[in-house]
């Protein structure tokens, strides 16, 4: 590999139990700045559980997560978002009764600083900020090729566009690390191809790190620079796509003996 980059995310000995069941244990992972990293593993390996711990939807039972050098032990879901971690969902969770534009505006919630009184009386601060937010949201939509659909109801968009909108909404929160949970699920090969281009573009344009969970090996091997393999809640292997493809343990976990 070329020069050593600084990690944005450092996960050490992470573990979580549900009742008596250990879902994830002794999990270690680093994600470096401006890197596209992959998290793969058989169904039920605990990949989404890891995402839920990284966003603090679940509070880890053990271990530490450092984000941008900061210990996140005491941080809530909202704190994690403000610190710069955004995510999408395996099953799309858009605000499906709201417009495409409003979905992105929700992502910008914390950029708005006017108070309720300024909004009620439509003071200059309110108008300026609302206008700035709308312009920024439209720019984001343009990047994701959704600007023509801005006024449509999100739930009425075609499937692929909903996936794109979810990424746009996550980007609206100004993340430094974007977590994508099976972004290519349900996409045809052409859509997957476009998605790969888009993920690369987002990384280059916004200069962020991306960590994605994916079953589509063409996508994972095609765009991830480093891959972590999870099996039964434990880290099985870590390395470049070529190393992972050649790893006998990984092949065993995926294909059986």
């Amino acid at each position: 590999m070329s020069e050593k980059k600084t990690p944005v995310l450092e996960v050490r000995d992470l573990g979580i139990d549900f009742g008596g069941l250990t879902a994830v244990n002794d999990f270690n992972m680093d994600v470096y700045e401006e890197e596209i990293a992959g998290l793969i593993g058989p169904n039920g390996a605990g990949k989404t559980t890891v995402f839920n711990m990284l966003t603090k939807v679940y509070q880890p039972s053990r271990g530490t997560i450092h984000f941008l050098g900061q210990d996140t032990a005491k941080m809530s879901v909202v704190d994690m978002n403000r610190a710069g971690i955004a995510r999408t969902f395996q099953n799309i969770r858009l605000f499906s009764n709201m417009s495409v534009l409003d979905n992105v505006r929700i992502g910008m919630h914390n950029k708005i600083t006017y108070n309720e009184l300024e909004a009620v009386f439509r003071l200059p601060k309110y108008r300026q900020q609302e206008q700035a937010v709308e312009e920024e949201a439209m720019e984001l939509l343009k990047i994701f090729d959704l600007d023509k659909d801005a006024s449509l109801i999100a739930g009425n968009l075609p499937y692929g566009a909903q996936r794109r909108l979810e990424i746009a909404r996550a980007m609206a929160t100004n993340p430094k690390l974007l977590l994508l949970d099976e972004p290519a699920a349900g996409m045809n090969p052409q859509e997957t191809e476009d998605l790969m281009k888009m993920i690369r573009f987002v990384r280059d344009h916004f200069r962020i790190a991306v960590l994605l969970i994916e079953h589509d090996m063409r996508l994972v091997m095609g765009i991830c620079e480093r891959i972590t393999v999870l099996n039964y809640g434990m880290m099985l292997a870590e390395g470049t796509p070529a190393e992972i493809q050649a790893n006998p343990q990984v092949i065993k976990a995926y294909l059986g003996e």
């Binding site: 969770r93 605000f95 929700i106 992502g107 708005i112 309720e116 909004a119 009620v120």
Partner: protein
Amino acid sequence: MAFLSYLINGLSLGSVYAIIALGYTMVYGIAKMLNFAHGDIMMVGAFVAFFALNSFGLPVVVSVILSMLATTCLGVVIERLAYKPLRQASSLSVLITAIGVSYFLQNGAQLLWSSSTKVFPSIIASGSLRLFGGALSISYLTLVTITACIAVMVCLTLFINKTKTGMAMRACSEDKGAATLMGINVNRIISITFAIGSGIAALAAVLLCATYPTLSPTLGSMPGIKAFTAAVFGGIGSIPGAFLGGLMLGVIEILAKAYVSTQLSDAIVFAVLIIVLLIKPTGLLGKKLSEKV
């Protein structure tokens, strides 16, 4: 002409129901709970306004604002103390807690202010607007009530659609988990919802007491149930639904009183609700609950 006059009276009563129903429906839409203490919060608002007017002799506008501030605080405190600890509990526990809060407020009011009925002072000049050469007269109170309801509805719609807090409310009502992950503080949004719902309930209380000037600690229960009915009628969780449901309920009640029977009017109101729910289970403007597979 008599019909028109009944209709206007119905709209006036319906306006009061609509304002209370807006509180019910907002809280349901965002916290996904039925706040059965809502009518009793309204009752407290009526008492605060009564004491402000009667004991302290404050001007009407000041008294109304004072009473709205009091119920706003009361709503937020109740949510903090009684409902917030139950955020993860089953909806049945929250429902029963809400009934408990309702009884607490009613009995607390009896303890503080005794259960004897008080007479609410008249707050709006008792004249009336005469139309069609005196054939139709609309009292100023009716005009004020209907105007207030429309004003509340317009402000609320603008608030929900045009401000970041309103937008966050809509996001929370759709998917709290996703909203949190967008950096929205859901607890704060729920508090604001209770604040607004309880605040406007005081306005409804004053308008109701101005129309029916008797004040007692159980004042809130019947209008509370009617407003809940109105919210369900219009589609619970929907703000235009609560508005429409409230107005229709008021009109049906007054027309039933005028043309059928005074004693049966409540029964007729609830019968209409049952029929509407049989035909359209989600209420008039309620969203279809379709689950994508």
